[in-house]
């Protein structure tokens, strides 16, 4: 493959370099010029972490073959604060607290720069519209948009430059104060290195072969053709694990790479370290795996039936974890209630979609310490597990936590660090693995999909007398955090309410779906979605206001939860009051209003999504004409 020649002006400097014809501009900027402020979040134009100016026009560098950059002037996020002085926008992002994990932020700063160049007076709606090509998963966008408005006003002289400075507060006085994040400058400039941005001399690139089957026995794996390919430095399978294989947050049921059988589509089967990613990819294609497909099960209810395919020998009933809670006498409670309501609720699998796909760098240091740098949310536990897996004393295993470009629970699992360790040991060279977005979605944990049956007995005055909740969750092929998620779902399932008779059962079930794991709120969302929806339905049946029914049942200071935890202070009353006020709630039972209600479309409620803010002037003019 002959190289092509790229001459361009990049961040004010002329460059003339060879490139591969298949490289994209993002590859060229990151891999060849080390301009790693341009992140790759999706590789498909969806997220905007890679936005750069090409001849003054903002574009997504993941959608651009490098040949298109020939003769162009390119400015990356690194050009905005070249001398170290942050641009007004970067300062505004710092001031407004617009950066959290920071992975989307270089792209956001670029999009905001483009927006204010296009219209220095853009209003909030137009700013939103112009930032539409950039995704953030931490902030909910509000602070980002606040920052752009702040920068706009400073640039236009409507606010003094001092508005960008940190608010004054006494030394050491932080609580209740607006304190700027100390890591924000490193993020708004793109200087911060995430694992996928890091390189080491002699570093190899890792690619992973993944299962195309949901459930299959591995008859054989033949890696010989891959191993002899030029540029391939190491190939590993489960056979390369020297110690006791298996990881998980609660049960160590997941091997570093499939051992004997695969249990979900996307499970790692083998991995290759090579001089470049393309060679590693080609080596994957040369690995021959013979599978014998097994019957698979995709629904937790099916998985619980006798005779269902069994995923793990240790759990012949496919139950990963059952958490039961019993308080009082629920059946008696129902019998004594004025109203008994039963409903079913379900929630779906959800992907965390942190902007930073999983990535890690591993090496064996001069003292023989196997070192893994990755955005792991659980490095201490990972270190212990890895020591056992690679049969080394804990002193010879080191985990370094790189900046986490969004985790939300999804980076708690040691999904790929084991492979990195094995390849670093096998090749004795630094190795790096960077997931594609597709790989991240296919192979890592999701929020547990759930189905809940909820039965509630109430008295006419609104008091809850009894609650029975049974939730079945699809835990997918491996345990990951399922046990903890079921536990928390059960503990919080009856809500912050004083209920004398409670029966809660939560089940995490093995299926051949992508494993479920930790995800913000860790199980509480699923059961509370059921409980809170149910309360609204019960309020309607009793002719009560939804706030009122919650107040009647709220736990109070000194109250006891259904897991016998004595509470000091309970803030529920304050929370309800604040929510009621902020929403402009119109009191009454849910069905008291008929088709219209007065608490929608108020001046301070957010209008529905629309596009065309930049035509607003035109439309007004049309109206006037």
């Amino acid at each position: 493959m002959p190289d092509i020649r790229i001459e361009a002006t990049i961040n004010g400097r002329k460059i003339a370099r060879a490139a591969k014809p298949h490289q994209r501009l993002i590859d060229f900027l990151r891999d060849d010029l080390n301009l790693t402020g341009n992140k790759e979040g999706c590789g498909a134009g969806e997220c905007g972490t890679c936005s750069v100016f090409v001849d003054g026009v903002l574009m997504k560098s993941c959608l651009m073959p490098v040949a298109k950059a020939h003769g162009a002037t390119i400015d990356t996020v690194e050009s905005l604060a070249k001398t170290g002085e942050l641009s007004v926008l970067q300062q505004a992002f710092h001031k407004a607290g617009a950066s959290q994990c920071g992975y989307c932020i270089p792209g956001m700063v670029m999009a905001a720069t483009a927006a204010l160049r296009a219209n220095p007076f853009a209003d909030r709606e137009e700013i939103k519209e112009r930032l539409g090509g950039n995704i953030c998963r931490c902030t909910g966008y509000q602070k980002i948009i606040d920052a752009v408005e702040l920068a706009r006003d400073v640039q236009n002289g409507r606010l003094p430059a001092a508005a960008l400075a940190e608010e004054e507060h006494a030394e050491g006085d932080f609580i209740g104060k607006n304190v700027r994040r100390i890591d924000a400058p490193s993020k708004v400039t793109g200087r911060l290195k995430y694992a996928g941005d890091m390189t080491m001399p002699g570093m190899l690139h890792v690619q992973v072969l993944r299962s195309p089957h949901p459930h299959a026995r591995i008859v054989s794996i033949d890696t010989t053709a891959a191993e002899v390919m030029a540029g391939v430095e190491g190939v590993i399978t489960a056979a390369d694990v020297p110690g006791q294989d298996g990881f998980g947050v609660f049960v160590n049921d997941q091997p570093v790479m499939a051992r004997g059988k695969v249990r979900y589509v996307g499970e790692a089967v083998a991995a290759v370290a090579a001089e470049d990613p393309l060679t590693a990819k080609r080596a994957l294609a040369a690995i021959k795996v013979v599978y014998e497909p097994l019957p698979a099960v995709f629904d937790p209810f099916d998985a619980m039936r006798p005779g269902a395919p069994v995923l793990h020998d240790y759990a012949p009933d496919n139950i990963t974890k059952h958490i039961p809670i019993r308080v009082g006498d629920v059946e008696k409670g129902f019998a004594e209630s004025d109203l008994v309501v039963e409903e079913n609720y379900s929630t779906q699998a959800i992907e965390h979609a942190y902007l930073e796909p999983e990535a890690g760098l591993a090496y064996v240091d001069p003292d023989g310490v196997v070192t893994i740098v990755s955005p792991s949310q659980n490095i201490t536990h990972h270190r212990h597990m890895l020591a056992r897996i690679i049969a080394k004393p804990i002193s010879k295993v080191r985990f370094i936590m790189s900046p986490v470009g969004g985790g939300f629970g999804g980076k708690e699992d040691m999904i790929y660090q084991g492979m990195l360790a094995l390849l670093a040991m096998k090749t004795q060279r630094p190795v790096r693995l960077v997931f594609t977005r597709e790989e991240s979605i296919a192979s890592t944990a999701k929020r547990h999909p759930s189905r809940t049956t909820l039965r509630m007995g109430l008295m006419r005055d609104g008091r809850i007398n009894a609650l029975a909740l049974k939730m079945i969750c699809d835990g997918g092929a491996y345990g990951l955090s399922t046990e903890g998620v079921m536990r928390k779902a059960a503990i919080l399932g009856a809500g912050p309410y004083a209920i004398p008779n409670v029966r809660v059962d939560t089940y995490g079930i093995y299926t051949n779906n992508t494993p479920s794991g930790a995800f913000r709120s860790f199980g509480a969302l699923q059961t509370q979605f059921a409980t809170e929806s149910h309360l609204d339905i019960c309020a309607e049946r009793l002719g009560l206001d939804p706030f009122a029914i919650r107040r009647i049942n709220a736990l109070r200071d000194g109250g006891m939860t259904h897991t016998k935890q004595k509470l000091g202070k309970v803030s529920l009353a304050r929370v309800l009051e604040a929510a009621e006020k902020a929403s402009g709630w119109e009191a009454g039972a849910p069905n008291s209003r008929g088709g219209t209600r007065g608490d929608l479309d108020r001046v301070d409620t957010r209008p529905p999504v629309s596009l065309g803010a930049r035509f607003a002037g035109e439309d007004k003019q049309e109206a006037a004409e």
Binding site: H22, A44, F615
Partner: protein
């Protein structure tokens, strides 16, 4: 991953055809690459090895454009963003800016080309229905005995179904020609799962021309996508509206007419509701922008579909 051995950026149509002849059977044409690069990823085509990519986005003829009060000629490699930021184009194609603003995002529109959108032939393409409403024709060129041979056909005939067009081996889409309709009011309605970066579930281009009093429909142009294998022109509805008074009842009847055309593979019921709503909203918006007499339409209709 899209893997190629050679990436050629011809600077003239002749060079492009020379490269296409030289690499016959081993090349693929690209323009903005915004369909091609995401296509070559896991879950879709996966890793694709194409020996030669021929990038037509720098051929002067393909980025030229000509606009007057009657006709528009757009080079096939015109980026979609030009619908928004070239005032003469926005005037000639009144639904164009509204179509563009719903298309991907500001950044992708700078790269995504009109020709790429047409040749990609997605059932949910946004630009295609917008141009169909302008009676667009495509111009196709090929190299024949060293000369450039051209042919033309209507855009409606050119797009045949999902991913299928009348483009032949060795042919390039060079230009799109269509009516300039500066006297029309235009609207573009689109719904997808989110606001930006979203493929249409349904989209509708509506153009309306009214008499001087803003009370009678002189002409209407409607094209819809996302409801079947290819974008459709709604000629029957146009005939029903042409010459008729602009009134709520008539628009409501017109809005019912294409509901039966929904033939998508999924979510038909939802799409039927959307079609009805979009027809009303599209027609009301277009009529308002064409200078409708405020008394012509009921206030209820206007607020419901503004």
């Amino acid at each position: 991953m899209l893997i190629c051995d050679e990436y050629i950026t011809p600077s003239s149509l002749a060079d492009a055809f020379a490269a296409m002849t030289r690499h016959r059977g081993r090349y693929r044409v690209v323009a903005g690459c915004t369909d091609t690069l995401p296509w070559a990823r896991e879950g879709r085509a996966g890793d694709v090895e194409i020996p030669v990519l021929i990038d037509v986005s720098r051929i002067p003829e393909l980025i030229a454009r000509r606009v007057d009060d009657k006709r528009v000629r757009l080079g096939a490699a015109t980026p979609v963003q030009r619908f928004l930021d070239v005032p003469e184009l926005a005037r000639a194609l009144p639904a164009g800016p509204r179509c563009a603003v719903w298309f991907a995002d500001d950044q992708i529109r700078e790269q995504a080309t009109v020709g790429g959108n047409i040749v990609n032939a997605s059932p949910a393409a946004d630009v295609t229905p917008c141009l169909i409403a302008h009676d667009a024709e495509v111009e196709l060129a090929r190299s024949e005995n060293g000369a450039v041979a051209r042919r033309r056909m209507s855009l409606t005939d050119f797009v045949q179904g999902p991913g299928r067009t009348a483009l032949q081996e060795g042919e390039l889409l060079t230009a799109i020609e269509c009516d300039a309709l500066p006297a029309y009011g235009g609207s573009f309605e689109k719904v997808g799962h989110r606001r930006s970066l979203v493929i249409s579930v349904v989209c509708l281009a509506a153009l309306v021309k009214l008499d001087a009093q803003g009370r009678r429909v002189e002409d209407a142009r409607l094209s819809i996508a996302g409801i079947g294998p290819k974008p459709l022109r709604l000629s029957e509805v146009e005939n029903f509206l042409r010459g008729a008074p602009l009134d709520t009842g008539r628009l409501e009847q017109a809005a019912e007419m294409p509901v039966a055309l929904v033939a998508s593979r999924t979510r038909q019921e939802y799409r039927r509701d959307v079609v009805r709503g979009f027809m009303l909203r599209g027609l009301v918006n277009a009529a308002k922008r064409a200078g409708a007499d405020p008394a012509a339409l009921s206030a209820e209709l206007e607020t419901a579909y503004a």
